[in-house]
Amino acid sequence: MINKVCPTVAQAVADIPDGATVMVGGFGASGSPIELLHALIDQGAKNLTVINNNTGNGEVGLAALIANGQVSKMICSFPRSSQSRVFPKFYKEGKIALDLVPQGTLAERIRAAGAGMPAFYTPTTVGTVLAEGKEQREFEGRTYVLERWLKADYALIKCETADPLGNLTYNKTARNFSPLMCMAATTTIVQTRRLVERGEINPEHVVTPGIFVDRVVEVSEPVHEDILIAEGRRYP
């Protein structure tokens, strides 16, 4: 019987090596896999390239991973927000690199990697500095930019319900980039609020089919970034 369940978050992230490219699900606080991120801080892998829409908030989760000096490069669309202090500081000090990608292009580049398509044309960024140096081409009288797929070695994902085959559902807007990242990473590691038996998820309601998932670990009472920040918490 196939069983992708992993007993602890520590074991789930144990093999992530220095230099890995890691996708992290979530959009701001919603869908951020805080427990997996903190396990990665405990684990200590360095020189990581992290792909996320943002760069974390406060001094927990992704921001704490950056603060701990483990991330050498961020690929994201919106690296600053009202609660984002760690990344801007590191960036201005030259301690971290930034690859800025428009949000829709980021999503589609990740999907393209999961779907086996190395490149596609998009109208986004045409005529802007973000299109500079990129191939451009006209189709039917309109100009488009060539964008490449974006792969990762690992994805760290938070979901609502998972079964031992790795079928997943998400909660509301915590879905965001996560189903795409599951497709695009060589190894997809998922923390789930609820681990259910095989067959408990209606096949019509599965959002991420298990084929895209490698490890599932139950975190039944996940902390939430916004709550941790409101409480003034930091990690470690």
Binding site: F27, A29, P79, P102, I110, P123, V129, N176, F177
Partner: protein, 217 residues
């Protein structure tokens, strides 16, 4: 004497121009207020790019769900008939031309429809673009909402944007505290003045030629 429209009045004026049944994406700031001024008898469906169609107003404390946010990372609600989806589907709606109207704030908007609203180009600032470049390229109509001038009195409606562009030739209409202005093949053209505002005042505060309304002399 106070002249022109305040933030709420600008938002209400924008809402008048959105047809019944439109799918609408609202940016942060004044654009968000548009949802409070839906004209009687019309219904708009709000899209937020982080994966929700059918976004509702902010929740009460009891309703609040930490996993239900908008693109500005504020807590929201979902209306009956809402749908959740992932980011690739969400930006397919945007890029694929399925949204009818996007209302955005801006730093500058030019007479040729160019918009610059993501960066002031300062070299030591952390650049952040989010979904702005996707929205301006994909949504059928881009409405820009802005104060007519900066706090120091510089025009925000300009001949050519000096800040880094978000999109080229994409804006169709501008709503400021002073006027509603169309972007036409011939540049800025006045549609309507706010109460107590004169054409000459708007013209003086606009950094490019402003044509009078179509049909006027």
């Amino acid at each position: 004497m106070s002249t022109g429209w305040n933030r709420e009045q600008i938002a209400a004026r924008v809402a008048q121009d959105i047809p019944d049944g439109s799918y609408v994406n609202l940016g942060i700031g004044i654009p968000e207020l548009v949802a409070q001024f839906v004209p009687e008898g019309r219904e708009f469906i709000y899209h937020t790019e982080n994966g929700l169609l059918g976004m509702g107003p902010p929740p009460s404390d009891e309703e609040r769900d930490l996993d239900l946010m908008n693109a500005g990372k504020k807590y929201v609600t979902a209306m009956p008939g809402a749908a959740y989806f992932h980011h690739a589907d969400s930006f397919s709606m945007i890029r694929g031309g399925h949204l009818d109207v996007c209302v955005l704030g801006t730093l500058q908007v030019a007479a040729n429809g160019d918009i610059a609203n993501w960066s002031t180009g300062e070299l030591d600032a952390v650049p952040a673009v989010g979904g702005a470049m996707d929205l301006v390229q994909g949504v059928k109509q881009i409405f820009v909402v802005t104060q007519h001038t900066t706090k120091t009195g510089e025009p925000k409606l300009v001949e050519r944007c000096t800040y880094p562009l978000t999109g080229v030739g994409v804006v169709s209409r501008v709503y400021s505290d002073l006027a509603v202005i169309d972007i036409t093949p011939d540049g800025f053209q006045l549609v309507e003045l706010a109460p107590g505002v004169t054409f000459d005042e708007v013209k003086t505060k606009t950094g490019a030629t402003l044509r009078p309304p179509a049909g006027s002399n």
